[in-house]
Symmetry: C2
Subunit: 347 residues, 2 copies
Amino acid sequence: MAQGPTIALDAMGGDHGPTVVLAGAELARVRFPEIRYLIFGREDEIRKVLKQYPKLEAASEIIHTDDVVLGSDKPSQALRRSRTSSMGMAIQSVKDGQAQAAVSAGNTGALMAMAKFILRTNEGIDRPALVALLPNMRSESVMLDLGANTECSAENLVQFAVMGAAFARTVLGLNRPKVALLNIGEEELKGTDDLKEAAARLRDTDLPMEFVGFTEGDKIGVGDVDVIVTDGFSGNIALKTAEGTAKLISGLLRRAFLHSLWTKLGYVLARGGLRALRSHLDPNNHNGAVFLGLNGLVVKSHGSANAAGMAAAISLSYDLITDDISRRIAQDLENFRATPAAPTEDA
Amino acid sequence: MAQGPTIALDAMGGDHGPTVVLAGAELARVRFPEIRYLIFGREDEIRKVLKQYPKLEAASEIIHTDDVVLGSDKPSQALRRSRTSSMGMAIQSVKDGQAQAAVSAGNTGALMAMAKFILRTNEGIDRPALVALLPNMRSESVMLDLGANTECSAENLVQFAVMGAAFARTVLGLNRPKVALLNIGEEELKGTDDLKEAAARLRDTDLPMEFVGFTEGDKIGVGDVDVIVTDGFSGNIALKTAEGTAKLISGLLRRAFLHSLWTKLGYVLARGGLRALRSHLDPNNHNGAVFLGLNGLVVKSHGSANAAGMAAAISLSYDLITDDISRRIAQDLENFRATPAAPTEDA
């Protein structure tokens, strides 16, 4: 077997710590037996779980540390433990070239701050962005920024578009993804000046993407756009509102099926179809948010993800490593700079 | 019967024009027979529909105009027709005191621009906001601004909170609504400076509301907050994302029930429960977005609303007129100014 990539795991992150992290790695191992793992955290706890998976154990090295970043830790507190915490050490191993990606289900703010501090941004990127996949009517779309940057300039948005398109080419396997800016109307006169300027600059690019202009919140689920670009404030609100609405409807559905004996029987009969629906919307199947724009890959798994979710985040890392996403982004950005700049329109 | 309020209807707005507008008014008439109507638009078209509803006809006066604002008209184009279009004339009748509220299902941007131009903002209000009701797990919550203002200052957000609380007291019948600012985290250090400043100022108010701090997109559907305050950009994106997610899930549900003969039978059995779910989420049952903060009431009905939706928008207008929402807001704002200002914290 060819020597595969090495992935660093923060074993202590997430709601369930090593139990779920390692069960997920075992699932990923079945699919990608060539991956090697560096596992950071409390050795005794890790060893106990790892014993259940002898093949995974054989592909893994444990690096012990007692220091764990908690969900309640502020990013500034976590930053001071960049060299001692399981989260920080996992990222550090990417910097040192021992691993090609770090995966953590821990505190998002802390992970973001440490990743940026340890790995620094790519040349040509001013700010990293948090990107993830969202389910839509057809399959999935890519959305960024999901919360790394509260306020974004036109230049930031343009860079996010380039990074998001490269991500879609790798993860969705598209040659020429359709890219749109999230706005409150599709007309050119809507939105902030930064949005208008970003649109004007993206309109004349010669990159492997199709810029389709503005899109709106109600189109995210339709799937006619592959990459949705927005600032981290709006992106975070859109993502969480979608999650909340899905939860609201599934709560109401449960209530609907409990309504009477007939509806309960109806549920039993419809179960097969509903299972496919649940699987399509299950966040575990879309798990893994990536910090794009850094000198190294860091993937955030949802804190409440199960083993299948952790496996999805590891598989995503594998795809991004194999496809050399960082090089793709660097190349696209260089080509973007080489495109003659479009005149900026002020509305 | 006591002389009821007069409501101005733009008969030409929305996807179906007079047919749905007047069918909606007829439904509202059954509930509130004391309302009188001024109906603006093409007399022959209106007369033809109105003939079907003799009691409504007896309570109505038609004011003819040929000029209709189209969905494709820009706000600036529409503004020039403030005195000639059915939409503009309906708002004008509120200004002149002939009607106490205007209801239109037409072009939102045009309606917003004309309403602001004709009615001007209330004293003490810098910018009007678009407010509406959203379904949640318990019942409904109030959200604003939904798109009137792309960028908002701390002062704007504070005024929106005061207006939204007054709206919730009237429409949801609450004495002390829970008010929160929409943010990307619940911690005090998250978000923009304007959000932090608005929070600091709302924390020390002595108004009939309970300011509970920040809330997030995934909490909108939970219903533990009665009033969600945000800028028009984020509010519009959250509202439309919620709509889009609901549409995505109902599309997937349809697919799930069509999966096999068993699932189809399951649907038939569960129909009773599912009908209650559909009714709880049906936008027609929450129809009517209100421009708060103007010297006069303007209510926007959804362009695709059916007769029940139009009736909901008219009923909402009736409640707001009866409860004198404008006076409530003015009073609350005055009390707010009288509260000693809290020191502004910079983070």
